[in-house]
Symmetry: C2
Subunit: 317 residues, 2 copies
């Protein structure tokens, strides 16, 4: 049974041979899969293999790693996420994976790791690689500064240390889903922020990111042609002016996005997009609603600006 539960070695061989998935995963025997070999899985040479190794999910290590590697646009990198490495045995398995990658590419890999357990770290260091240890680099200066030993508790990278916080976050996601696209007016008083803007200006992904990353209850409400004809804010929103934040978008980009939804419609036409955007901006200006242009921004950037502007200061998860 256990053999069938080994994580597969995939195209780029993320997943870990020998990892005891059965502790956390039910794996019916009939789901056993063939395990392709590494040599069959990769062929590019001159590619630098990069491993993100963590006793947790590895998401933090990977996000930081991508940001750093983006500073070297001329190098081709191949990324491997090895999460849940919480024993020396698993660390030894990682060593083998790193060695295989070095042989395959002919050059030593780069390893970003956030392992906390010293014996697991020692086992991992047997590999020949450039180790960029997020824990080691920063924990010692912090210990010196604070005059305390760190707890060396594993799995704290991107953990859910505090279950109250986690519950709040899940509640925010549920709230945001229930208040997407003006679906419900109920409980709008509970919203931390209400995003407004024309259809497809970026309200929904931004609301979800605010909920997911920051535990913010973010409703969103579309401004539609009827609102512009009446020339006033939807009446449901007027009670919550202090929570409103607007998104706008360039007309070309809006037309392009809408074309994908409803090709050759009036809805998607550049002329109509321009009209809606101008009307919405006029309305927001008159109503004293702050807004920003989402055209060239990521949902991370939009969300960060909104947090500052609506005076919310949640923890990032």
């Amino acid at each position: 049974m256990r053999a069938a539960c080994h994580a597969p070695i995939r195209g780029d061989f993320t997943g870990l041979r020998g990892l005891e998935w059965d502790k956390m995963l039910h794996c019916p025997a009939q789901a056993a899969r063939a395990i392709p070999t590494i040599s069959a899985a990769t062929s590019m040479s001159q590619t630098r293999h990069v491993f993100f190794i963590s006793d947790g999910t590895g998401i933090t290590a990977e996000t930081l790693g991508h940001s750093l590697l983006a500073q070297f646009p001329d190098t081709r990198f191949r990324n491997h996420r090895l999460p849940f490495i919480d024993s020396t045995d698993k660390a030894r398995d990682c060593v083998q994976r790193i060695k295989d990658a070095a042989i395959e590419s002919g050059i030593r890999p780069i390893v970003f790791n956030t392992l906390v357990d010293p014996s697991a770290v020692a086992a991992l260091r047997e590999a020949d690689a450039l180790f960029l240890d997020l824990f080691e680099k920063f924990i010692e200066p912090l210990e010196n500064e604070l005059g305390q030993r760190s707890t060396h508790a594993a799995g704290r990278f991107h953990g859910i240390a505090d279950s109250q916080d986690y519950k709040k976050r899940i509640e925010a996601i549920n709230f945001t889903l229930a208040h997407d696209d003006g679906v419900s007016h109920a409980d709008l008083a509970e919203a931390d922020v209400i995003l407004v803007g024309v259809s497809r200006s970026g309200k929904t992904p931004t609301s979800l990111y605010l909920a997911m990353q920051f535990g913010i209850k973010a409703a969103n409400y579309p401004l539609i042609p009827e609102d512009f004809e009446r020339n006033r804010l939807p009446v449901e929103l007027t009670r919550y002016r202090g929570k409103l934040f607007g998104l706008t978008i360039g007309p070309d980009r809006l037309s392009q996005i809408r074309q994908e939804r409803r090709p050759n419609s009036r809805y998607a036409s550049l002329e109509n997009c321009l009209h809606e955007i101008e009307s919405a901006q006029r309305m927001m200006k008159r109503e004293g609603i702050k807004w920003l242009d989402s055209t060239a921004k990521s949902i991370e950037e939009i969300s960060t600006i909104i947090l500052q502007e609506v005076r919310l200061d949640p923890q990032s998860y």
Copy 2:
């Protein structure tokens, strides 16, 4: 006009005096707000102020910082996110904020920074603080290893370098929303994964996280009492067995979650929860669907396990 657009100094004075918001934010004059002073905003002593300073959103710096600080549970930290610090002038404003915090708390602050521009870094270093520089610590070893100078391009931490990637991610979010809770069977063939499980087993937040963080098209489909009576998988799913992944949950926890939704209902009763969970697990076992127990896991952990199991290896954003 510009004066009215300064980011406010909030309760814990995140937001930056003198930041030129007008470049990215429309700020109607009537939205000007009073700016509370720092001394009024904080009162706890023996609290260590922590700054996350970035030329981008600061989300990466903050996530890593939280993980490291969680290793020191006996110290109280107060966090301040200072994003979009992309000039020496803004860096100098940060210095003042750090100084104010040091005076207020009587102890020097800790600064996690990801600034790339050397002159902005130099300006920031004027402050008396423990600097934990995510860029500096890792970029030099990477330059040596790769034999290349880094581009020193600012704003690459958590950026949207590749717009194709970003588009894919937004598409995944839209797909996931359109295929939440079995709402639509259309285009299920496009799904990267289809989560199944009883109502409130964690499918929706997990699907959204997979889409948001990894650009995965994650549909989800509830297993309901009618399925258990018929004793077979919903017919819409049988064509996509290879994409199915199950979530289960402890009966106590499920009953608790459902109580909050529909207090004292049969739906929420422990007996019914137990029955549904057992039926669902029996069905998944028979159909060869892998599953995991979501009870004590974060959506990051659940998502990371699913990625490995369904052999998806996307980049983390």
